[in-house]
């Protein structure tokens, strides 16, 4: 289907691996560090064992690309508080076990709150229509997911439905990473699916400002390898541009229809991302004309009672923030695989299926076992 197998051809992959090794050697310094900002990229890299195909002189770092992981405590607390106030909360499955200040939504569920796990916001809307219950959709995810929320808002919501938006917007956080003093990132791999919506053009101001190349990449093994070859070549050539290596899905302008819907419903505001403090324009909130479906305005959410709990000793040892910023690896964290495991996560990175720690743990905690036989 859609040539999927061709994008998994091991021979072409081996050839691209060789080209990547060559490109890295041509850069002339070691290591060359590049960053990707997408949980699905890390998943694909881990699942296919791609790190074994990356040359020694190349560091492919996962940045803050897991939407669950970057959803900060105050936002989890809002959802938790609503749930404990007796409101029915629907959300994507990954959010269920993310620890907040007083507990996760799963803890709220165990304490009697009504939580629904859905695979689409449309499903949550259907639930509201069918049951007549007041339902709040705890909306997480980046722009690729936010457009779905926008679509249901514009299609008309029942009176008993509202949105608690914790959606995020990726391009601003790339700015933050590029400006971090200890960053050694020389180029970015951009998430192919988000770029379907926003277009590859959205990165042009970024590359002009920071003189760093950006390559838009797909998610099959060949897509990732080819994109890395292109990125390293651009680093070698001092080429500060945007290259689209996912042309079967991404155009420069992107999906105008989806963009229009997104920006009719949402605006960007500055906000906290877990581990990255303040990201200007990094959060998506409902515009004023949608106040009537905004859970923050429909309900008085009482988080005060939750806020006076001090973070536990374990939480203080959690390295999620540094891991998400790309300056530490899960193996650097003393808690990884011991106190912090998927069944009892300390940090969000171990909860989400796109979290670096969770992915590493799922694949045995050892990212690079060497090449195929």
């Amino acid at each position: 289907m859609t040539g999927r197998l061709e994008f998994r051809d091991p021979d072409r992959a081996r050839a691209l691996g060789g080209a990547l090794e060559q490109a890295v050697a041509e850069v002339g310094r070691s290591p060359v560090a590049v960053m990707h900002v997408c949980g699905s990229h890390e998943q694909a890299i881990a699942k296919f064992g791609l790190r074994a195909a990356f040359p020694r002189g190349l560091d492919v770092i996962m940045g803050p690309g897991c939407p669950v992981c970057v959803t900060d405590l105050p936002e989890i607390d809002e959802a938790f508080a609503l749930a404990m106030q007796g409101v029915r909360v629907a959300t994507y499955g990954d959010m269920l076990k993310v620890p907040g200040t007083a507990g996760s939504l799963a803890d709220a569920q165990a304490a009697g709150a009504h939580i629904d796990v859905v695979y689409s916001v449309a499903q949550a809307v259907d639930l509201a229509r069918e049951t007549g219950d007041e339902i709040v959709f705890f909306a997480t995810g980046f722009e690729t997911t936010a457009v779905a929320t926008a679509a249901v808002v514009l299609a008309g919501l029942p009176a008993n439905f509202s949105v608690l938006s914790a959606h995020k917007f990726i391009p601003p956080v790339m700015e933050i990473v590029a400006e971090m003093p200890h960053t050694r990132v020389e180029g970015f791999l951009a998430a192919g699916h988000a770029a379907i919506i926003t277009g590859s053009g959205v990165f042009e101001p970024f590359v002009a400002r920071h003189h760093l190349p950006v390559v838009v990449a797909g998610f099959e093994p060949l897509d990732i390898l080819a994109a890395l070859v292109k990125l390293v070549q651009m680093i070698r050539d001092d080429d500060h541009g945007v290259a689209n290596m996912f042309p079967r899905c991404v155009t420069r302008e992107g999906n105008r229809n989806a963009q229009q819907q997104l920006w009719r419903v949402f605006q960007t505001v500055g906000g906290r991302w877990r581990g990255i403090a303040h990201v200007p324009n990094g959060n998506l909130r409902l515009r004023d004309e949608w106040a009537h479906v905004d859970a923050r305005r429909r309900f008085t959410i009482d988080v005060a009672a939750l806020c006076d709990r001090a973070p536990s000793t374990l939480v203080r040892q959690c390295l999620c923030g540094n891991i998400m910023a790309g300056i530490a690896q899960p193996s650097d964290c003393a808690l990884f695989g011991k106190e912090c495991v998927p069944e009892s996560p300390v940090g969000a990175c171990m909860v989400s299926s796109e979290g670096t720690c969770r992915i590493w743990h799922q694949y045995g905690g050892v990212p690079n076992l060497g090449a195929s036989a």
């Binding site: 296919f48 074994a52 507990g103 996760s104 799963a106 803890d107 299926s353 195929s372």
Partner: protein
């Protein structure tokens, strides 16, 4: 979408008060005052912990094999007692699968096949007799019970086995869920095969396609509309194993059936008991197209999914091709394949060669899908 469908499939609400996220305090150890959790029935680490702490403590005699008894401490597919120059093998299983009728089988067939197969995994393919004990919920349909019993009778015929003793209990409505079946079996064998005999150089064979049972049950539970309906592989395989052992019973150095936790789980167990490493070639694994499809969509690896009509065997290198031929000559072994090899390196670890690189297969925490067998 896929990750969230996966979460909604995998999440088992902790019904008895155990905290789902642990609020930063992670622990595997079962304190004496804690309550039994669902996880402890899932066949993974948590269950092993419960067995070791509670059951072995109560029942283990921990005798060495020389004394003529394979006991509970071995945690093999069955126990065994030496009688003269042969071994008497015995095993027991309880079945709680939901739904009781699923594509390809039902709880009755599962109960008989499960016990017959456990005996076969120890090398005992000629069943002396079975017991069948049922606990039925008040209100259970008589015709469903008769359908289940007919299925058990047919499966017994296939296996050449007979139910010699049984017990029947009825509990009040709501006191038990539908029906629970326990079966026990005894058989004699001259050559006992354990699960700890792996040696470096041994080849690993799976007797057919993997992941069929778990995916079929999951697809049914979630009403996934499939082009080609998926059926459970539930079947007694003592005839298949007899065929494989016929020429040279010593060729098979270890054997286990990959039920809860899938092939990944038994490979881990066998590797750690044998103190060898295992390397699997992902491209050699036999997987049905429909299973692959669901796996891509929902994100559950077929290696982690339960099978009920398959065996994983370690075979001496010089005998592997011959054993493979014998398996393939049998109707239940048509898709048998050599999928990997045992190594000295990385004892206890299971490595997967994806074709692009190598990565670890993490030990599953337990069965991903609840009430699968």
């Amino acid at each position: 979408m896929n990750n969230d469908l996966r979460r909604s499939v995998l999440d088992t609400p902790e019904r008895n008060g155990a905290s789902a996220s642990g609020m930063g305090v992670g622990s595997h150890a079962l304190g004496k005052d804690d309550r039994i959790t669902l996880k402890q029935g899932a066949g993974g680490r948590a269950m092993r912990g419960l067995i070791e702490d509670a059951f072995l403590h109560a029942f283990a005699t921990d005798p060495p094999q020389l004394a003529g008894v394979i006991g509970l401490a071995a945690m093999d597919d069955g126990g065994a007692v030496r009688i003269g120059d042969r071994w008497l093998v015995l095993t027991t299983d309880s079945h709680v699968i939901q739904p009781v009728f699923f594509p390809g089988g039902d709880i009755g067939r599962l109960a008989i096949a499960g016990t017959v197969n456990d005996l076969a995994m120890m090398g005992a393919t000629d069943v002396l007799g079975l017991t069948c004990s049922v606990i039925i919920e008040e209100g259970f349909l008589r015709r469903d019970l008769e359908r289940i019993l007919a299925s058990m009778r047919d499966t017994c015929r296939e296996a050449g086995a007979t139910v010699l003793a049984g017990d029947t209990k009825v509990m009040g409505k709501g006191e038990i869920d539908g029906i629970v079946i326990n079966t026990a079996g005894v058989a004699l064998t001259s050559h006992l095969i354990t699960d700890r005999g792996l040696r470096p150089g041994d080849r690993l064979i799976v007797t057919g396609t993997i992941g069929d049972h778990g995916m079929a049950v999951m697809a049914t539970r979630h009403g996934l509309a499939l082009d080609t309906p998926l059926e459970s592989d539930v079947a007694p395989i003592n005839g298949l194993i007899r065929a494989a052992l016929a020429a040279d019973p010593t060729a098979v150095t270890a054997m286990k059936d990959p039920t809860r936790g899938g092939v990944a789980s038994v490979l881990h167990e066998m590797a750690s008991k044998g103190r060898v490493g295992v390397v699997i070639d992902e491209r050699a694994l036999p997987v049905r197209a429909a299973v692959r499809g669901i796996s891509e969509l929902v994100g559950i690896d077929p290696l982690l999914v339960a099978n009920e009509g398959k065996a994983v065997m370690a075979v001496r290198a010089d005998a592997a091709e011959h054993v493979l031929e014998c398996l393939r000559a049998h109707p239940l072994g048509r898709n048998a394949a050599i999928v990997g090899v045992c190594t000295e390196e990385r004892p206890g670890m299971v490595v997967l060669d994806t074709g692009f690189g190598r990565r670890l297969v993490a030990e599953p925490e337990g069965e991903l899908l609840p009430r699968i067998c």
